[in-house]
């Protein structure tokens, strides 16, 4: 990198980071304001540090209840998607079979469908199956929507692992499955982490299907819960901001935790050559 380029690049990076952080910063600030500050015109920048909105979000708006629902749905989606995607990706990466490119291309096409197009059919199917207003009724479409991406990411990871490792494992006495979980999975851990994070974030943030399928507040997830905070006459901006902060924190924590795993996994040299 040449010297004159560096300041330009650095300011670009700063701009991008600030730009993406701005909305987040604003609702973090808002969440610590009082009702008077929130409605003040011209707006006040610095909050007085009150935590009243957090208290009312937790107590009046049953925040923990929504968090519980979101954890169940996003957690189940992540686990199921990984359990299904891992053997699928392994097979696509390793086995000699016809039409591999078509399968991968097909998966990509499915992932590209606009949600609104499949909303009607999904609703009808779930109605017949009795899946409306249940957690599994939401997990099911989430899994099928996240699977294509999960399979793609994991297939790439498995393809990058040298075939010789598996053959060595076979000769050392492993069956195909043993080679997969004793040798390949530990090495594909960064790929598994990445897939898990993306799937979890998707399921945690998803709003459209959650709104469509869950009309009963008992089962609603966080995004739907936040959206339905609005009362008859007022818009509870403070509570929404407080809830959004709480909803975002787990994602940040998860990403930071898994990031370590990703980096240490990537730095492990698999094979020389």
């Amino acid at each position: 990198m040449t010297k004159p380029l560096r300041p330009a690049l650095l300011s670009g990076i700063l701009l991008a980071v600030l730009g993406s952080l701005c909305p987040f910063l604003w609702f973090v600030l808002t969440s610590f304001k009082s009702q008077i500050q929130v409605e003040a015109i011209p707006p006040t920048w610095w909050p007085d540090g009150s935590v009243g909105f957090y208290a009312s979000a937790l107590i009046e708006h049953r925040l923990l209840h929504y968090i519980r629902n979101s954890v169940i749905v996003a957690g189940a989606t992540t686990v199921i998607a990984l359990v299904v995607a891992t053997p699928t990706a392994y097979a696509l990466a390793r086995l000699r079979m016809a039409g591999k490119a078509w399968i991968l291309g097909g998966l990509l096409c499915v992932a590209m469908f606009p949600h609104i197009v499949i909303a009607g059919p999904v609703w009808q199917i779930l109605e017949r199956l009795g899946g409306l207003n249940t957690h599994w009724g939401l997990v099911l479409p989430y899994v099928s929507l996240t699977l294509p991406l999960a399979v793609w990411i994991l297939t790439t990871f498995f393809q990058e692992l040298p075939f010789e490792l598996e053959e060595a494992a076979r000769i050392d006495g492993c069956t195909g499955w043993q080679a997969l979980y004793r040798i390949l999975l530990p090495l594909a851990a960064p790929g598994l982490f990445t897939t898990a994070i993306l799937t979890f974030i998707y399921a945690w943030n998803e709003f459209f299907f959650a709104l469509l399928i869950l009309t009963d507040p008992e089962h609603q997830t966080l995004p739907v819960g936040i959206a339905l905070f609005q009362g008859e006459f007022t818009m509870p901006w403070g509570e929404i901001a407080a809830t959004s902060v709480i909803a975002t924190l787990p994602l940040i924590i998860i990403v930071l935790l898994f990031q370590r795993g990703i980096i240490s996994g990537l730095s492990a040299g698999a094979v020389k050559g």
Partner: protein, 362 residues
């Protein structure tokens, strides 16, 4: 009892046939080298022996037992891979023990074998390291250790030294030879490096285009190559090969290529029963001298094109009647490019219809 027997192995991938009727036997404790250029099918053959790849036809016998239906773990073999294939997330100790653990050997046995192997390969200090903390040569040792620790009936090596630098390769070659002498286990070794093949093998099987071209002891392969491919593949610099026409006279054979006519004073029995036709004539660079040798030789006059002085000997590129002729002479030749010289061919190889025609040597 044979250590390894391959009977009429054929292999096709889709419509491409990569192995044609390969048969090979190795005695107990023998070191067999599969030698050939890349893409000749030697690695595929090794993988078939290992059971990693099913053959299309034919059968594999290890220790007298047909193993065609057995998966790799049940074949009592160990394999050393070209890129070592050490498990990156396990320590050296765990890498070595992995195969024994999978076979549910009792702990004391594993400990004892580990100690033996570490002693044999001098890798005690490395046992607690991860593969990425090892140098190329150390990884190579561990890869061999992982094979040795299992005490298999048959070792398979897939170009194990090709990732090492030249100096390390030479020293590992010697170690490998010592190792074989110490263990006395049957070994099959795949390489494209003729020096490895010549120094390591009891038997060399030269392969090309999915066929075995010749099986023999290293000296047989060198001195009596069965066809022009083997003749050209073994030797450094490679054998001079001329494709031309021949005519048989009473006591000698006349060979023509371009403007060059060679009168070969050896009695030849033409296998085809005709006394003229096309043939390939070969002469090794080290069989060309600038001093008249014994009675029977072929003298040619040429000019020196290039001299490469290698210290102990020199490689001289001659032009003889428009044909290039490479010679390797010792001691170093005290002449210069452009000089006219007479060269003497001591030993000539003749191939008619791709087959060797024996000539009595001088």
């Amino acid at each position: 009892m044979a250590g390894l027997a391959l009977r009429h192995i054929e292999k096709t991938f889709g419509r491409t046939r990569v192995l044609h009727d390969v048969s090979l036997e190795a005695g107990e404790g023998e070191f067999v080298v599969l030698l050939g250029p890349s893409g000749c099918g030697k690695s595929t053959l090794l993988r078939i022996i290992a059971g990693l790849e099913p053959q299309t036809h034919g059968s594999v016998h290890i220790g007298g037992q047909c193993v065609d239906t057995l998966p790799p773990p049940d074949r009592d073999i160990a394999m050393v891979f070209q890129h070592y294939a050490l498990y990156p997330h396990l320590t050296v100790r765990e890498n070595l023990a992995f195969g024994l653990k999978m076979r549910q050997e009792p702990k004391p046995v594993i400990e004892q074998r580990l100690a033996e192997t570490a002693a044999l390969l001098e890798i005690h200090d490395l046992l607690d390291r991860k593969p990425r903390e090892l140098s190329g040569g150390q990884q190579q040792r561990v890869a061999m250790g992982r094979a040795i620790v299992r005490k298999p009936q048959l070792f398979l090596f897939d170009e194990p030294l090709s990732n090492l630098d030249a100096r390390l390769r030479a020293s590992m070659r010697v170690e490998l030879k010592k190792l074989h002498q110490r263990l006395g286990t049957t070994m099959v070794y795949v390489t494209h490096d003729q020096a490895e093949a010549m120094t390591l093998g009891h038997t060399i099987a030269v392969m090309n285009h999915g066929r075995i071209q010749q099986i023999g002891r290293p000296d047989q392969i060198y001195h009596e190559p069965g066809n022009p491919f083997v003749a050209g593949f073994i030797g450094n610099p490679p054998m001079n090969l001329f494709e031309g026409s021949y005519r048989l006279h009473q006591r000698e054979l006349e060979f023509r290529v371009g403007d060059l006519t060679l009168k070969v004073p050896f009695q030849v029995h033409d296998p085809a029963g005709t006394d003229a036709g096309t043939a390939t004539l070969g002469v090794r660079p080290e069989d060309v001298t600038f001093d008249p040798p014994g009675s029977r030789h072929v003298a040619v006059a040429g000019t020196i094109d290039v001299i490469e002085n290698l210290g102990g000997d020199s490689v001289v590129y001659l032009i003889v009647e428009g044909q290039p002729l490479v010679t390797r002479t010792s001691p170093v030749l005290r002449q210069h490019a452009g000089d006219s010289v007479t060269a003497y061919m001591k030993k000539i190889h003749l191939f008619i219809n791709e087959n060797r025609v024996p000539l009595p040597s001088s």
